[in-house]
Symmetry: C2
Subunit: 136 residues, 2 copies
DNA sequence: GTTATACCTCGAGCCCACTCTAGGTTTCGG
DNA sequence: CCGAAACCTAGAGTGGGCTCGAGGTATAAC
């Protein structure tokens, strides 16, 4: 079976080898096997699991909670409910983040317009009659 | 003119007074006036400016870069171009974040489905024939 | 007037997620 | 068989963003 070195995996996932070893230290990859001398051997499925780790990270989950999930995975079917619940909750938090990002975007777009017109006028004073503050 | 105490502003923006004082220390609110004895007096426009700070923070901008923006604001019309460029760039990064969040969401929704069916079957084994790894 | 509460500064401390250094072993190309 | 490059661990260091403690002043409520 084809395996990959830590640097190959780092490249694939756009992480550093430091980060991967740190994840290992934190218990995020108990499944990765080793050669007798200790070198890590990553399988395709290990890379898949790490992609889930990256997904959870991208959803804003802290490393320690991701570790809980990994532990549940190791515990087998008895933890299916927890894992399901976790993903449902993740879904909710990501939805909330999308909502917030949308609001952020609206303000930023408004600012783009604000500065575009100010630039055209050569001064911010064109907006002085708006309720938008002096830092517009 | 009506003013607000630091704790009122903290409440309004859902921040702690510690955080607000930290922002001040970092130069994010040079516009806030003081009583002769040193107590901060926030005006409505100050709160408006802080909302922009929060917006930039929400867009992922680090405090030091937000400070640059605040400095530009203090410098007046000569920095209109920089500020415009900054918001245009912010718009792009927020769009990128939305894209990534969407991808994250897709994986999470897939996982919700994966665990829902596994729960119904009572075991994760129902997915064993998929290319999804052992930590599915 | 006094007591409690809110304000202030300065600097230390904390947590997270890396990031790197030192010192050593292993593997691989020529 | 040798030297370079990649691997390993343990533990220290970094940077960002707060968060808090000490020690002190100011205002508000009784």
């Amino acid at each position: 079976m084809k395996t990959f070195s830590i640097s190959e995996v780092a490249k694939e996932l756009d992480l550093t080898v430091y980060t991967l070893r740190y994840y290992d230290k934190e218990g995020l990859m108990p499944f990765v096997e080793r050669t007798p001398s200790g070198t890590r051997l990553f399988k395709e499925t290990d890379i898949g699991a790490l992609k889930i780790v990256e997904c959870l990270k991208a959803s804003g989950m802290p490393i320690k909670e991701i570790k809980n999930f990994i532990d549940w995975c190791s515990d087998g079917d008895s933890t299916l409910q927890q894992r399901y619940d976790m993903f449902v909750e993740r879904k909710a938090t990501v939805e909330a983040q999308m909502e917030e990002l949308k609001k952020t975007m609206e303000i930023i777009e408004h600012k783009c317009f604000y500065y575009k017109t100010a630039l055209e006028a050569g001064t911010e004073d064109v907006h002085k009659n708006n309720k938008i503050g002096s830092f517009g």
